[in-house]
Point group: C2
Chain length 386, copies 2
């Protein structure tokens, strides 16, 4: 009866908290998760993650990845400088190995350990950009290596998610190997023929129909691609991302459509995804006494710092700059949370591990910008060129 009231309260608190946190210089997703924590079983117990809210969270996730796909410019990636590419690869491989190792050493099975590696591998580009803008360091060599490699990193993350999703969900229509092959075919199709077909169809609607029909067409393609990837045994998020990538050249330069879709995402649906993460956590004193928490956060930082350092050292004048690159790659965000949500919903990780990964994301997203600020100040004080 009063589902609208639930939607209202969740949107109000999540969006309000997100806005406040963003003003303080942190990513809004921290505010949105916190809103879920406050309204959910951890604190007030006011809102339960029922069927309707789960659908809203799914739609938020779809629109979030659709928008990420739209913002991704494959041409930029193809021409990415060597420094960014090398750094991205080191910055993914080393955290992955450390994460996998941590899982394995603490007695997890192979698949949860692989999950932990993937969850640690992906930098959150939004948080890095924001921190670099605040430090006026976006166009410095350090800044440009961080950005390029965070973008590549994001794409690697999606591919790793597709792989994990094939392993976790495979066996629906086909075997795991079958799903992996389907995933490969699907992704190849979406960046070649699918790009042309969807792009052409969208362009036709945009030219001949009303503004809102073009908007609908974009959404319908995102939902259809998400549903297709789910039917194939992949996660919804994969299809949504590649639908965005396929429409990227059409929608990115089209200010009014891009603006409307981004309002729909950031102003309405996406907060439900992040708030739902908060709603599905049940924090208690025990949570913070979990022996995995501190090692996980330490590995999260050291993996990216070491990986970023090794990858970029050759291209930068001194050790300190290379360490700053690693620090700049440390914040984790939406992709890690998408990976964790998928892993939880398919039963490959426990609620406990999900909680730990969410806390790791919050910790890196909160702490990395602070350290970056200190690091850039030190670098400037020492008189080196930033």
């Amino acid at each position: 009866m009063f589902v609208v009231l639930e939607i209202l309260i969740l949107l109000l608190v999540a969006k309000g908290a997100g806005e406040l946190v963003e003003r303080a210089g942190y990513p809004s997703l921290i505010g949105e998760i916190t809103a879920g924590l406050i309204l959910g079983p951890s604190l007030l117990g006011l809102i339960e993650l029922g069927e309707v809210l789960k659908v809203f969270a799914d739609l938020g996730l779809i629109v979030l990845l659709f928008l990420s796909g739209i913002e991704t410019d494959l041409k930029n990636l193809a021409s990415a400088e060597k420094a960014g590419t090398v750094t991205a690869i080191c910055g993914v491989v080393i955290p992955f190995v450390l994460g996998f190792g941590l899982g394995y050493l603490t007695g997890m099975d192979t698949i949860p350990s692989v999950f932990l590696g993937i969850a640690l591998a992906i930098t959150s580009i939004g948080i890095s950009v924001r921190a670099l803008v605040d430090e006026h360091a976006l166009s410095t060599p350090i800044g440009s290596i961080i950005i390029t490699s965070a973008v590549i990193d994001d794409l690697i993350g999606i591919l790793l998610l597709a792989a994990l999703s094939a392993f976790a969900l495979g066996g629906g229509l086909t075997s795991v190997a079958g799903t992996a092959i389907l995933a490969l075919i699907f992704i190849t199709f979406m960046v070649t023929g699918g790009r042309r077909i969807l792009g052409g169809l969208y362009a036709k609607v945009r030219r001949h129909a009303s503004h809102e029909s073009a908007y609908s067409a974009g959404l319908i393609m995102a939902f259809a691609s998400a549903a297709a990837s789910q039917i194939m045994g992949l996660h919804l998020a994969i299809g949504a991302f590649f639908a965005g990538l396929a429409l990227s050249d059409r929608i990115r330069p089209d200010r009014t459509i891009e603006g409307s879709l981004s309002d729909l995402g950031l102003g309405f649906l996406v907060p439900f995804f992040f708030a739902s993460i908060g709603l599905s956590l049940t924090l208690s004193v025990d949570t913070f006494q979990n022996p995995l928490l501190i090692p996980l956060v330490l590995v999260a930082f050291s993996g990216k710092i070491i990986g970023g350092y090794i990858g970029s050292r050759h291209f930068l004048p001194d050790n300190r700059s290379a360490l700053l690159v690693g620090l700049g790659l440390s914040p984790r965000g939406e992709v890690a949370l998408v990976v964790a949500t998928m892993a939880l919903s398919t039963g490959i990780i426990t609620n406990d591990l999900f909680t730990m990964v969410t806390l790791m994301v919050i910790a890196t997203a909160l702490v990395a910008p602070l350290f970056l600020r200190i690091g850039f100040k030190a670098l400037r004080r020492s008189g080196d060129a930033v």
Copy 2:
């Protein structure tokens, strides 16, 4: 599990059918209702109106009435010419009396009869405007009387809906009389102090926060006002409309926000409202043999034609022009369907009567534009000034 697939199919078919119907010169809601009829129990039985789709339909209704409120310009209404006002009043009173009479004579109770009167009283402004544009008659005396009185008519419709809603839902927190008084206080508040408070709050967010936060703020106010009216024992739709009216001066001139909200409505949520009407109908051969159907459609036309004629005759040169005004006021649309949905959901009318009213809306919306076209042609052929 596959709710996203249901949402996808419904959006695709409803929006596609709506676009096709609109290109043929008819209101898109006919296509959207038909999509529901095709996918629902009447034909394919593919989609059931479950909890999630009901919430989407509710949100569509809220956004539809929020947008109507935003588009309503109280200043224009206040300065409306006498001709439009007189025509509006006659064009509401006569169909209301005839509808009430029809209900009463066919043995209905008082409240369903009042409902029938209200459902027949409200012109659909969208359909009239579209038909007038097609006939290049928007700025003729006939056109301007039709538009002004359809707009006033719409507002009277909302007030009648509020009254009916107080009668139908009253008794939640208070008695019927209490709800009616609450409704009056609520509406008065929303067009005076509420307008200032909500408007001021919205303007603050718009100035100081991100674009999507202003968009969220608008939506949150619509949801909050809808929820408030529901808690008071009124229908959701009332609150949504008055929230739009309160923010009207702020959002109407603000192209990017207005565009985003209208994309969200027309391109995403509203089709779920109209499709849900189709989904909740179970048409069969019996439906069309219902003895109420033909009289209802006849009363729908004759009520508006007589009312429009009497109201406008004094201001126009000849009988034919005044009859055309009546014909121009004949199409019914979203408000009649909102009234019917509310009446059905609160149990004051039967499923059968709901079906009859929906068919009446479809019939008037399909036939009136045709007759208008013929009428304007005849008027032009006779050499009279249109």
